[in-house]
Amino acid sequence: MKTILYIVQKEFLQIARDKFLRAAIIMVPIVQMLVLVYAATFEMKNIKIHFVDQDHSQASGELIHKFSASPFFVAVDPSEDVWTGEENLKEDRADVVCVIPSGFSEAIGTGNSTGIQLLINAINGTKAELSYVYCQAVIGDFSNRILAEKSMMAGMGGIETRPRHWYNPELNYKIFMAPGILVILVTIIGWMLTGMNLVKEKERGTLEQLNVTPIHKYQFIAGKLIPFLLIGLFDLTFGLGLARLLFNVPVEGSLVVLFTFATIYLVAILGIGLFISTISNTQQQVMFVSFFFVMIFVLMSGLFTPVDNMPEWGQKINIINPMAYFIRVIRMVLLKGSGFADIQRELIAISIFAVSTNALAIWRYRKTV
């Protein structure tokens, strides 16, 4: 135990002297909160819509007005021919072109059905899909209202649907994103710093001097792990503070639950970082291997879109993706107030991870060359 403390003390001395590390520990959370949360957004606002109004009627005007009133759309200069619309798409001046054909209001007046054409720039498929869903909602609402006015259903109230959005009534995307970014933050800080740290000792030759001492492998791994665990927890606290300050992210659940899970998660992640550095010889290698796996873990973790939307095989792979567990748990605890009983499955899974990655790191760490 004492030996471990000596290693921890040494690591902290080195970290304290390293200007670059100090800057990274403070700056990375700030940059991530300021840039990532704002930039990594699928929140649909300001979809640029270009109207080709060939009808020029009160009805078409009402529809256009309905779009403009929605927070999701911004109308750009309209025109009267589809060709101009397409040109706007090509030049990226519009994301969606909405063509209202002549005869639109006449058809509506007589109760005949009519068509509206939507031309959507689909290079970004996700955005196109969302734009389409939002357009449909506006048009559907418009058509239902007219139906209700015109048809025999007038006077009937219809089925009143009242959506209530729990945990995030305003559908604020940042409250969804910020906790996820916190997971990215502690993962990158923990994984990269430990990985780099060990392999740096290899590159500099200081590891050889340690290897001729009677130090135990587990003491060495623990001594490397503890400092970065503390730094990870510090950055989580710091990041969470920023998230509250900047985005008013709620803390519905207990911080004890969150930090317990975070500690086990960090131990698991640090174990991966250490393992990778035991099988690498240069910092460049660690960097590349880590970049590759972090990228896959992030993409699959459900950070942007729910894991449930993925195909079966994707969900299967996520069983071995520690990030997927933490992203789920941090949102559950912060936004929904889930407790230990609700995250049991995740807690068990991440504990298995923590034990096995560190066992792997200790096993693979060789005191011989």
Partner: protein, 249 residues
């Protein structure tokens, strides 16, 4: 943990190597090495770069496993008692390998802790060694601010910190100026007088003269092994350098 003491032929033999081989694929780095080193001896390993000196020293200090052979260091075998060996030896590598972003004192304190010395013992040993090595004024200096020769002295003091019975020095003086080399050897003598066995590799032939016994290595084999004086007589040479030239030819 319990380690059984191996019987040795002389009770004061601390390193016993019989038929040691180390192969890397088809390359034989150590080819049938056999020798013994007695307690308190300064034993020199001589040879050009690539002769297999570092390979041998790494095996003896438990950093690497031999392919075959019967080898014991401080009474423990190098196959499965390496951790017991490590408790009894000090090691100084060819390349400076202490932390250059820590001070002298911090480095020593760290290694004291790793070897399980108490804070008090570490402090006393540190003052003793730094005094002896003339490094006291730089106790609180960062390593990066010191010249190479002094760093080598510091590395040596770290190797001696836990009072090991054997110290392995792998080319400790390479790249160091002649005056510092001289001083370094004084320190080696002092350590040996205190009963510490010194196992040293070098490619400086003049340094061989300082050793009690030297073995000359060439292409993985030991081609000569004796007291420097005896070797010079045997090969009718004025210096070990001449001996080396004769053998190598």
């Amino acid at each position: 943990m319990k380690y059984t003491q191996r019987s040795t032929r002389h009770h004061d033999v601390v390193i016993d190597v019989q038929h040691m081989y180390k192969r890397f694929g088809s390359f034989v780095a150590n080819d049938d090495l056999s020798f013994t080193v007695r307690k308190g001896e300064i034993f020199g390993f001589l040879g050009a770069n690539g002769a297999g000196k570092t390979t041998a020293i790494k095996i003896l200090s438990g950093l690497s496993k031999p392919t075959s052979g019967e080898i014991s260091v401080a009474g423990y075998n190098v196959y499965n008692q390496t951790e017991a060996i490590k408790r009894n030896i000090g090691y100084m590598s060819q390349k400076f390998s202490l932390y250059d972003d820590l001070t002298l004192a911090e480095n020593i304190r760290f290694y004291g802790g790793v070897y399980g010395l108490s804070r008090k013992v570490t402090r006393e040993r540190m003052d003793e060694l730094l005094e002896q090595f003339g490094l006291m004024d730089f106790k609180k200096s960062l390593i990066t601010s010191l010249p190479l020769g002094w760093l080598q002295k510091l590395a040596f003091s770290v190797a001696l910190l836990h009072k090991p019975s054997i110290v392995f020095l792998d080319e400790p003086t390479s790249g160091v100026d002649p005056i510092t080399r001289r001083q370094f050897w004084e320190l080696i003598y002092q350590a040996a007088e205190g009963g510490t066995t010194i196992f040293i590799t070098t490619h400086y032939m003049d340094e061989a003269e300082y050793c009690d016994r030297v073995s000359i290595m060439d292409q993985g084999k030991i081609v000569a092994l004796d007291k420097p004086q005896k070797l010079k007589q045997e090969y009718q040479a004025g210096t070990i350098y001449d001996v080396f030239l004769k053998i190598a030819r």
